[in-house]
Symmetry: C2
Subunit: 218 residues, 2 copies
């Protein structure tokens, strides 16, 4: 026996991951059409696996499919981004609430360690924090909720969409120092097992991000 959960990787999986990456990173342009035959030859697999990959992309809301017509990569609009952040505020707020209830003491301790390591990096390069660090922070809280539906919706669904916006609309931006303070307060609330406050702070944190983006993009 080698690994504990030995999940087989199928060809459709690989094609799905590749396509998702290409779309999120903008290799395949937003709003463009996805031709099954074209992608089939491009990735060297049959149309069937491309179709399955596209179906999964549709589940992630990364493409829209119409019968007998085909699939298009979603268009990026300010309105769409705002709606995305509304859903995110709602779900991650609940995630923070549940994390305050369900995370183990050691998980919370690890979260504090992560936060400290971020603090060290904020002083140096700000980019790293914004890119990977922020995602990692939110990810841990989402997983800490221990709610499978929540985790699936956010990790498999919304996050790739949000990253797509972030990459293609070039939403790097500062907001680093203030965001760090907000993260610190959220962790404190979780550590105190204050569900109400953890949810409220997380919602505000995401709301601020949304308002920051809105102001920047119009």
């Amino acid at each position: 026996m080698i690994a504990f959960t030995e999940q087989a990787i199928t060809g459709a999986d690989k094609t799905f991951f590749q396509l998702r990456s290409d779309i999120v990173e903008g290799e395949i342009k937003a709003g463009s059409k996805l031709s099954e035959m074209e992608l089939s030859t491009k990735y060297g697999v049959s149309r069937a696996v491309v179709r399955e990959a596209i179906n999964r992309l549709e589940s992630c809301h990364l493409v829209e499919r119409k019968p007998n017509i085909g699939a298009r990569v979603v268009a990026l609009t300010l309105e769409g981004l705002i709606q995305l952040y509304q859903v995110r505020e709602s779900l991650e707020g609940m995630a923070a609430r549940l994390a305050a209830k369900n995370m183990t003491d050691t998980e919370i301790e690890d979260l504090k360690v992560l936060l400290n390591s971020h603090f060290q990096e904020v002083k140096g390069s700000q980019t790293y924090y914004q890119e990977a660090g922020d995602v990692d922070f939110h990810y841990r809280i989402i997983v800490g909720s221990k709610n499978d539906h929540l985790i699936s919706m956010l990790v498999n669904g919304l996050y790739h969409l949000i990253r797509m916006y972030r990459v293609q609309l070039g939403m790097a931006g500062p907001r680093v120092s203030t965001a760090f303070e907000e993260h610190k307060n959220i962790v404190q609330a979780i550590s105190n097992r204050d569900e109400e406050l953890a949810e409220m702070l997380m919602r505000r944190h995401i709301l601020y991000s949304k308002q920051n983006i809105e102001a920047r993009l119009r």
Copy 2:
């Protein structure tokens, strides 16, 4: 030109709808295995369309699929139901908030009419209200949010799962008269354009339902 949005119905669509219905209504038992070949002969279509239908069921979280092994209908557990209601509380709370902001005056007026017609029916048979009426009420508010992601997640995703629990665990139960009062207050908050209160009342309404179910099932 006949209709405005003339969506073509493909064979995979029909198979998907049929399968979803069979699963939600318990025709196909929870936790049972879905054999592609078996379903293929049963519904008289090729394995390819069955596979596509199963993939979509997986997107709805109605089945779980493992590579090279197959798909099983999800198991119904109290823990799973609770997690579902936590997500629902979060999302429908946001839906009520957005509905208070985005519903038109006429839509709100229609909602009041619906509520009144429910009131008439509560006095007679209680079953109708609980079954269709309650769903209709929540549906209108969800759509009233005007947030496509929210609508899709709730209507295409969570609601069928919740209905599956409701049908198969036999969660009919009263709670009719009190629920009606809660509905009335939610509509009033929406009518007053009080986003904060609308969200809070909707969350409480769903939280009460959850607690009611928990108490009943253990």
